[in-house]
Amino acid sequence: MQFSKLAVAATAAAIVLGSPAFAQNSVLLPVIIELSGGGATVGNNWKNGVELAAAEVNAAGGILGKKVEIPAVDTQTNPGVARAAIQRALDDKPVAILGPIYSGSVKASMQLTADAEVPQIMGGEAGDLTAQGSKYIFRTSFGQNISMPKLANYLRDGEKAKSVAVVFVNNDFGKGGRDAIIKELNSRNIKVAADLSTEAGQADFAADVIKLKSANADAIFIYLNEEESARFLREAKKQGLNKPMIGETTLLGQKVIDLAGDAANGVKGHVGLTVDAPIPAVQEFGRKFQAKYNYKPDHNGLKGYISVYMVKAAAEKAGKLDPKAIAAALHGMTITPDKVPGILMEASWDNTGEIDRISFLAEVKDGKQVITQTLPKLKN
């Protein structure tokens, strides 16, 4: 084999490598999201939510008169891939990045968006994401630093639990949540009867359920991803584990209910965001989503949908499509549904990108999530 021919081949290869150009006359919002791997469920929800919102925004004339473009890239639920994808997306001078959801992927890539001064509207819930000092990171749902105190209050006041067993998934999402809830339980004098780590993608929960049976806690707090939650609930039912099962948003989500079947009935907990919320605009969104994609969205569908409207509202406030100005506009901003209907519920962002919004307590009854109480915003 001759090197000169290789050289020609390499040149040809290099020319093809150039990235595709996007029309300059549009609002580029790359969706960097989990479409495969462990986060496929949440990622697809997010992506569809974004698509739905983008179609509405474009039908209504776009943002500041320009059409929205939302090229989606799969992160494979892999932080390294997510980072590379965001690097690639930043080459095309986007207005904002939408995604990812997994906190590990967010953490791996947030430095890039901060360096490029492009707002990153993401779905991560790890508590420390907004504590890294980035001026360009924005949440679409509560961080664990906000949801866990609400949940601990519910365990104390609602369930009247004196001891709680914690089951969490050993990834960025689960560990963050576990650390947050244990801190909150301790400060409320609730005993942690068991502290069980499980693996991401774990298939067999027999051993965990058997251990929980002998732990004999007043309630079990389950903080796992969708599929693992469902497997756990099925195993718990199979083994006859009769304790109150308490969760945060995910455990009460539609996907878990679909997968776990009867085993999900009776699960209770705190829900940051849900299409079952007793708010007409949110339920209307659920119907539109169901009509278009033929399944019931989970909270990530809502998060994706809202993210587009966040950009729209901030860009209109800033008056220009400049990423830096949009980020600045979002800080300290409150978006209300009467001005921007697509935001669905009034929401505010502080200077770190943390979100504040109302939230709910819910329960699964007969394969359906039922809202039992609405919790107010933290600050008014």
Binding site: Q2, A7, L17, A84, K107
Partner: protein, 330 residues
């Protein structure tokens, strides 16, 4: 003899020039070539890093006829070593050497028991090791950052030049890859390379000629794994963030696949294989999620009809189309 040597060195210089200038924007110099942007250059650098790891696999699989299912784990060892050492303020050069050395030592420790017993047992032991290494990366949060990974890994300063800009870092990796490639080439053309061929083709005969088959197998496995460590040492500053997922067992399978697809036992095989694994998905974006499906299917076709991989396929096609080019080993 000397004419062919001249052609070789000319080709080599040309290839070097192309590789050096591929990412550079030449429009300022009056040439109609826009170069590669940040991401394109990143992918080219990733290709080089992957090729270094694949060269190691090729030494183990192609040249000494063993099986390794742990190259991604060795990459991880190198990446974590470099990340932790450079974060502790140790210069990159030392961290790089330590990464290779650690992978080498672990390779020796794994190889000694595995090579005592039957064929394929090295494959089994490496498989077990790959999973265990990954578990350690995930679980030892105090050291590896666990699933959250390690971020803020700095790119090195070489001879006073900061390699932080993506183009400089590409050139740096290109230079390191060139050196590692030369070392591999030198070893394979030395008497060692001859011994590798012998022990792969006929270990019993090789042993009877005084070739210590077990020792050479151990050395190839450890050196091949060290290349994984070196690749990891380059990977960490390239991505500037590491977490356990690129070092999982399934990734080790992909390294094995890419080497066999490129051409196990052929010097250029790992480069071709790495190109197919890293560069091709970028051109075939339109295939989206079907890419791996198509890839797997093509691998199976290739194995059934041309187990020598793409390099052998190209040579075979060349021999068929240009019969005058002389006889070629299939």
């Amino acid at each position: 003899m000397s004419r062919s040597a001249l052609r070789w060195s000319l080709g080599l210089v040309l290839l070097g020039l192309v590789l050096v200038f591929v990412p550079v924007n030449l429009t300022d110099y009056g040439l109609p070539y826009p170069g590669l942007k940040r991401y394109g250059t990143y992918i080219m650098t990733l290709w080089l890093v992957t090729a270094v790891a694949a060269m190691g696999v090729n030494l183990i699989v192609g040249y000494s006829g063993q099986e390794t299912l742990a190259q991604a784990a060795f990459l991880g060892i190198g990446a974590y070593t470099t990340a932790l050492l450079t974060k502790a303020g140790i210069p990159f050069g030392l961290a790089f050497a330590a990464s290779g050395l650690l992978a080498f030592v672990v390779g020796i420790l794994l190889g000694i028991p595995a090579l005592r017993v039957q064929k394929h047992y090295l494959a089994f032991v490496t498989l077990a090791f790959a999973v265990m290494a990954w578990l350690v990366f995930r679980n030892e949060q105090w050291l590896t950052g666990g699933v959250m990974g390690l971020s803020g890994i700095k790119r090195p300063v070489v001879f006073g030049i900061n390699t932080r800009p993506f183009l400089t870092f590409y050139w740096f990796v290109l230079a390191v890859t060139a050196i590692l490639t030369f070392c591999m080439w030198w070893m394979l053309r030395s008497p060692w390379g001859r011994a590798f061929t012998a022990l792969r083709e006929n270990p019993v005969r090789a042993e009877s000629l005084g070739i210590d088959v077990r020792l050479y197998k151990l050395l190839t496995f450890a050196i091949g794994s060290a290349y994984g460590g070196f690749a990891g040492a380059l990977y960490a500053p390239l991505v500037e963030f590491i977490d356990p997922s690129p070092f999982a067992l399934s990734q080790s399978f992909l390294y094995l696949l890419m080497v066999v697809v490129g051409g196990a036992g052929s010097f250029l095989g790992p480069f071709v294989g790495a190109a197919i694994a890293v560069l091709l998905p970028e051109w075939l974006r339109f295939t989206e999620t079907y890419y791996l499906l198509i890839y797997a299917f093509l691998v199976m076709l290739l194995m059934a009809f041309c187990p020598g991989g793409i390099v052998a396929l190209v040579l075979r096609l060349k021999a068929a189309l240009l019969p005058k080019a002389g006889k070629v080993q299939p």
